[in-house]
């Protein structure tokens, strides 16, 4: 089962990297969205997969009676989902503002901060 | 979205959703639920009310600016972790008390206040963003 999910994670990463290599911000944003999911799935897989046995320790015991699902990756993923969700929201707003302000969504044409026709520094007084 | 039916039912629906969000938040300690999802439900209630009635009514109903509410939630969450200082325990150690109010034993704990803080943060920040977007 881990092997199948690993392949799926690989496909997710391939898709996201392909999208992020685009010149257009909206595709980069889509790539980042897929990347976040790829990472979540990767953490889930690296925590090892298990049937849906809740990790609850019965009263009077100190360890669970048998093997249980690993709760830690789920906590990590929950954190990562919230963070990547808020970042994606921010980036979408930023990309939209950039499109409004700069009039382009092509990052090659975004040269306001680094003008292409900049002078060379003076070599003497 | 100025349809009569939506406008008339929206306040009741919003009130119901906020009540439900509080319920979801409070049951979150031992059951599915919690501050994050409760905050999302409350934020969607305000968003819906904003779509139905207009943003200025939501702002008036909220009274405080949503971002201030979110900041208060952050302070509440952080402070709920500090209480364990007085018990000589590390940060974020949960503290419980079981007062009997009108014959019912009520469990009051710092995780509950932490969750309420999360509820306020999520509700405040998402409402703030949504209202800003609805205004545009």
């Amino acid at each position: 089962m881990e092997g199948v999910l690993s392949i799926l994670v690989g496909i997710f990463f391939a898709v996201s990297i392909y999208l992020m290599m685009s010149r257009y911000t909206i595709r980069i944003m889509l790539g980042i969205a897929v990347l976040g999911n790829a990472v979540n799935l990767l953490i889930f897989t690296s925590g090892r997969l298990m049937r849906e046995v809740p990790p609850i320790i019965p009263v009077g015991e100190l360890v669970p009676p048998g093997p249980t699902a690993n709760p830690l990756p789920q906590a990590l993923i929950l954190t990562a989902i919230v963070i990547s969700f808020s970042f994606l929201a921010f980036l979408l707003v930023l990309a939209y503002r950039a499109y409004q302000e700069l009039g382009t969504d092509d990052i090659v044409e975004m040269r306001v901060a680094e003008p292409a026709d900049e002078d060379l520094p003076p070599v003497s007084y | 979205m100025q349809t009569l039916i939506f406008r008339t039912t929206a306040p009741f629906l919003a009130a119901l959703m906020i009540l439900f969000s509080i319920f979801v938040t409070l049951r979150g300690h031992n059951d599915p639920g919690g501050g994050f999802i409760g905050g999302l439900i409350a934020a969607s209630a305000f968003m819906m009310y904003g779509i139905a009635a207009g943003v200025q009514y939501v702002r008036r109903a909220l009274y405080f600016h949503p971002i201030s509410v979110a900041a208060f939630g952050l302070v509440l969450s952080a402070t709920s972790g500090i209480l364990s200082l007085f018990e000589a325990q590390p940060f974020m150690t949960s503290q419980w008390t079981f007062p009997t109010i009108m014959g019912v034993e009520v469990a009051i704990s710092t995780p509950m206040f932490f969750d309420i803080g999360v509820y306020l943060v999520v509700m405040g920040s998402l409402t703030s963003i949504a209202l800003k977007l609805e205004e545009e």
Partner: protein
């Protein structure tokens, strides 16, 4: 403390029951001060005029707390506190060692100076937009990164730092800022996501997220049991991206010159150094095996970064972008220490990071003063007459030029000396040469900036500045607010240059803790070991606890000898039960 009296649980099996002294709360105090400070500023959003002063107050508190923390670490060794008293490695541990405490203290000092400068630099509109809360929350992320002992927690602090830095970067919403922010945001988000990917792999391979625990487990694993090469390479890539090392550095000069100069200053000072810190922390403390594998790669990256940064600084007309490349070059110097990897080299890397934090912040701030005086000009061709307008400023700037180039008697000299010496001792002659070469090119670049901006009479096209537009004089309030921070930073730079031994001994102690992490590990697991000793004495018949403790008892037991000092008092007072 038990939830319900009828099903009481023996907390001592999974939680630390020893009382925590109030002094230990200093470990969480830095993050708490900044979080609550930022949140209360947001609640006071209609009193914008108080924001600056309150932020300075909170940051001054942060400086005091970090200073006490550093003093305690130097006295008692690494300190630790595990959240919610869960037993390490299950709870999130905050661990302060000399490296973390030193970096936290220097960052707090720099943030305080920048805050004082911001009183003059930040407009009311930007304040309303939330400049000061973002600044405080960014400090939460930065100090949290320095103080945490949990690798996933480090990721969370990175994100806190990142999202508040977005707020600072676009605080005015100008076109140029949005352009810079797009590149900054996308590339930094990729870097932190890569960090998360690697953490996922590490967790899959080792099964723990606590840095001390990972360090113990990796040292006990047979060679080749974990894909160390992959994990270390991915960490190197992720943190190089954060730190703007050579092949992945282009976001930095594209964005750091766009915001207000105070924001540029604190970004240049702190953000990249958090990347360097994380690199040192993961590769040297947590997985030395990975560092050994990659040392040649890191050496090449360091050399290319240094040379590239220096040459880039030479090629820019915009002085602020030139400084951006200098930041990149400084990262290379710190990475030299990671590449060489001896105690001296790591000491040099830490010292250089400290120097770079102070110098880069001060450079941006000093140049900001000049920009205030000349009406916002920043191109080298348009500058001139700085000495005539303010001889003080030109002297301060000259000191910074020397410090950035690594010339004595300023703070940049000692780390470079140590790094060159350590490289030569380990047979990295070419790396030592690269350090010196980049220092030489930096000297040219910086000397040219100083000569053009301050020494010559006026811009190109004027006859010795006689027909140049005169520079403004600043009102006395503004003058104090902008000069005091720069003077304080330069004073520290001179002090470290003249008397390096205090900072040197702290850095050396930090480096030795990293290379021989027994004390670090003992600090995290010491309380567990002490508690277990008491428990075994008390209930010798408790069988169940053996199972629960077997998985995690290796680290503490092997290191208990080292933790006597830190834990004897805890072990004695361990009888306070939870039930």
């Amino acid at each position: 403390m038990a939830g319900n009296a009828d099903n009481a649980v023996d907390f001592a099996a999974g939680m630390l029951v020893a009382p925590t002294s109030a002094v230990d709360w200093l470990i969480v105090a830095p993050t708490l001060i900044t979080i609550i400070g930022g949140a209360s500023l947001v609640m006071l959003r209609y009193q914008a005029k108080w924001h600056g002063y309150l932020t300075c107050f909170f940051l001054a508190m942060l400086v005091v707390v970090d200073a006490i923390l550093l003093a305690r670490v130097m006295e008692h060794g690494p300190l630790t506190m595990t959240m919610g008293r869960w037993m390490p490695p299950f709870g999130i541990s905050l661990v302060v060692d000399a490296l973390g405490a030193l970096m936290a203290l220097i960052s707090a000092v720099v943030a305080l100076t920048v805050c004082v400068y911001s009183l003059a630099d930040i407009s009311v509109t930007s304040t309303r937009f939330g400049f000061y809360p973002s600044l405080l929350w960014m400090m939460t992320g930065i100090t949290g990164s320095f103080l945490t002992g949990d690798i996933f927690n480090l990721y969370v602090w990175f994100e806190v730092m990142l999202i508040s830095s977005f707020g600072l970067l676009i605080v005015d919403g100008e076109r140029v800022q949005i352009d810079g922010a797009v590149k900054y945001a996308v590339l930094n988000l990729m870097a932190t996501t890569l960090f998360l990917v690697t953490t996922g792999y590490l967790y899959g391979a080792v099964g723990s997220l606590n840095m001390a625990d990972i360090a113990v487990r990796l040292r006990e694993m047979p060679a080749g049991a974990a894909p160390m090469g992959t994990i270390a390479t991915l960490y190197l890539l992720a943190f190089s991206m954060k730190a703007a090392a050579f092949p992945v550095n282009f976001w930095l000069p594209a964005s750091y010159h766009t915001p207000k100069i105070a924001v540029s200053a604190i970004f240049a000072g702190l953000l990249t150094k958090v990347g360097v810190y994380a690199l040192i922390r993961t590769l040297v403390l947590v997985m030395p095996e990975g560092r050994d594998l990659l040392s040649d790669v890191i050496a090449w990256i360091a050399a290319l970064t240094m040379i590239f940064g220096a040459i880039g600084a030479l090629a820019q007309n915009d002085v602020r972008r030139s400084f951006g490349f200098l930041v990149v070059g400084g990262i290379g110097s710190s990475m030299v220490g990671v590449a060489v990897g001896t105690e001296d080299a790591i000491t040099g890397a830490i010292l250089y990071a400290v120097n770079s934090i102070l110098v880069m912040t001060a450079l941006y701030l000093a140049f900001g003063i000049l920009m205030r005086k000349n009406g916002g000009k920043y191109n080298l061709a348009d500058l001139g007459g700085g000495y005539k307008a303010s001889s003080w400023l030109s002297i301060l700037f000259l000191a910074l030029v020397f410090a950035a180039s690594g010339l004595p008697p300023f703070s940049g000299f000692w780390p470079k000396l140590i790094l060159v010496e350590a490289s030569l001792k380990e047979g990295y002659g070419w790396l030592a040469f690269a350090v010196l070469l980049s220092g030489f090119i930096t000297t040219i670049a910086m000397g040219r900036i100083w000569a053009h901006a301050f020494w010559r009479g006026g811009p190109i096209g004027t006859v010795d500045g006689r027909d140049a537009a005169p520079l403004y004089t600043l009102s006395s309030v503004v003058r104090h607010r902008v000069f005091v921070p720069v003077m304080a930073l330069v004073a520290m730079i001179v002090y470290i240059g003249v008397n390096p031994s205090p900072v040197f001994s702290v850095s050396q102690y930090g480096a030795s803790t990293l290379l021989k992490p027994d004390h670090y590990i003992a600090a995290v697991f010491g309380p567990v070991a002490a508690q277990r000793t008491v428990m075994n004495e008390d209930h010798a018949t408790a069988e169940g606890q053996e199972d629960a403790g077997a998985a995690k008892s290796r680290g503490p037991n092997s290191n208990r000898a080292n933790s006597n000092r830190a834990n004897s008092n805890r072990a004695n007072s361990n009888r306070e039960g939870a039930h």
